[in-house]
Subunit: 218 residues, 3 copies
Amino acid sequence: MPARPIVIVGTGGSGRETLQIIRAIERQSPNTWALTGMVGRDVSHPERLTRLNVTYLGDPETLAARMPEVVGWSFVVGIADNRARRDLTLRLVEQGLEPATLIHPSVIIGDDVEIGAGTTVGPNGVITTNVRIGEGVQVNIACVISHDTTIGDYAFLGDSVTLAGDVTIEAGASLYSGTRVIPERRIGRDAVVGAGAVVTHDVPPGVTVMGVPARPVH
Amino acid sequence: MPARPIVIVGTGGSGRETLQIIRAIERQSPNTWALTGMVGRDVSHPERLTRLNVTYLGDPETLAARMPEVVGWSFVVGIADNRARRDLTLRLVEQGLEPATLIHPSVIIGDDVEIGAGTTVGPNGVITTNVRIGEGVQVNIACVISHDTTIGDYAFLGDSVTLAGDVTIEAGASLYSGTRVIPERRIGRDAVVGAGAVVTHDVPPGVTVMGVPARPVH
Amino acid sequence: MPARPIVIVGTGGSGRETLQIIRAIERQSPNTWALTGMVGRDVSHPERLTRLNVTYLGDPETLAARMPEVVGWSFVVGIADNRARRDLTLRLVEQGLEPATLIHPSVIIGDDVEIGAGTTVGPNGVITTNVRIGEGVQVNIACVISHDTTIGDYAFLGDSVTLAGDVTIEAGASLYSGTRVIPERRIGRDAVVGAGAVVTHDVPPGVTVMGVPARPVH
């Protein structure tokens, strides 16, 4: 089967880390992806792309301009902001592109795990069993997602997040780096958990919490 | 050598994560274990076992009922509660079963490390050097156990626990997910460390601590 | 190419963990290093070296006494204290030894990463892209170093440290185990971050911070 063309949307840190996932997949399973290049608005550091030897294709609108060539291409949105990731994903799907699910080859995934379209999982993650991860989720580096956990669409897990089992993360929630959630807790839709927080109580939708234990920020 | 028959005791999250360890060992070293099935009292979610394509053998008492067939079988207790894990282990040993030591193939273990019978170590752990881990200990996912550390029998380490060196964990102590212990500290017998705590002082036997830095909870 | 002779400076926990890195490299890439032995002042536990089957060569001064034999040998300083590591490194370089850069084979390193001479990176680390790490840095176990991060010479990262992107660690700073730094923060020269702290503000040079969020300690 020929390699599928893919484009990365986002040229910031998140997009360039997504590139590392694709290249690790390429080393493990050659000819899976044919990377066309990266699109994005952030061109403040063009040398960072140059040093990665990757083609910059312009801003996301350029994909629409290249229709119908891009129809059937795969894409992945390497942008940490959940709303921007979702909006771009929906727009590109409308244009006929297909969201890719990208999992770094080092990730350890158990049985009975489902991961949605457009979701990325960074290096050294562990996902055990009876886990459902929705669409367009960004799971960053070294996250631990234990048994019986559900993560809704377009959520965000920063680096080194640990969900200790029976956890529910609703759509659009953001858990920043190093947060821990004890078992059987629920993080509501579009809630935000600050870096390093330890979640011991449910977090209502839209609420921001921080600290150990995590408390709402007013 | 033929694969040894093994049974998992515990059908909750911990038991099903133990199943993932056995299956990972199977992929790495085929014919090490012949999994007979799982026993446990928790049958509230039978579909979770069905989806794992694993045989449910009934509650732990069924093993006694199947004597002498089970004599010489190996077993592992996938139950997070230290006392329950110990009690079941001792009873099954009396019945002639043998506790298995199960280490996920991804774990990195250095020289001069001893790990006791019935102990499990989950994926992505690191254990460096001059470390002694007792019997029936549960070391969950992505734990870091540094040099010159001792862990007593039937202790529990949750996911992403880091012991930074010269640490002593006495028998029966529980360190919940994401806790860190600085060097040269001692966690007393049956003590409990709450999720995400940072232990900077010794914790006396039986005491519960939480927070950053960890303080006793009254 | 023949294996290069190398000596480990430091016989405490850090030195013995460095030995584990060398042995892991040996298993992955035989004949890279020919370990001559370990030098160090700490001989309080000689049995720990005996059990590792490693030769104890005496204190660091013995290397000078063995001139010119040692000229051209490689060395690595396995000592956590930044100043001691730097002073020993500079002295041994004067004597004609060459600092080795040692990266555990399990470490995942992306494109556009530079790591200086004499730096060690422990097992299960992840370093993504556009990262510069200076000379003589000690990066311990399971650290996550995200995009666009710079770490100065003779800095120290304990176990399970997470730098979430665009972080600057200046020379000689020490981040103890389990600390997290949110994006775009700067840890000043010789600053100290206590174990488990979450850094949300810049830390000035020489200042010690602790807690969640990290605050200066007076």
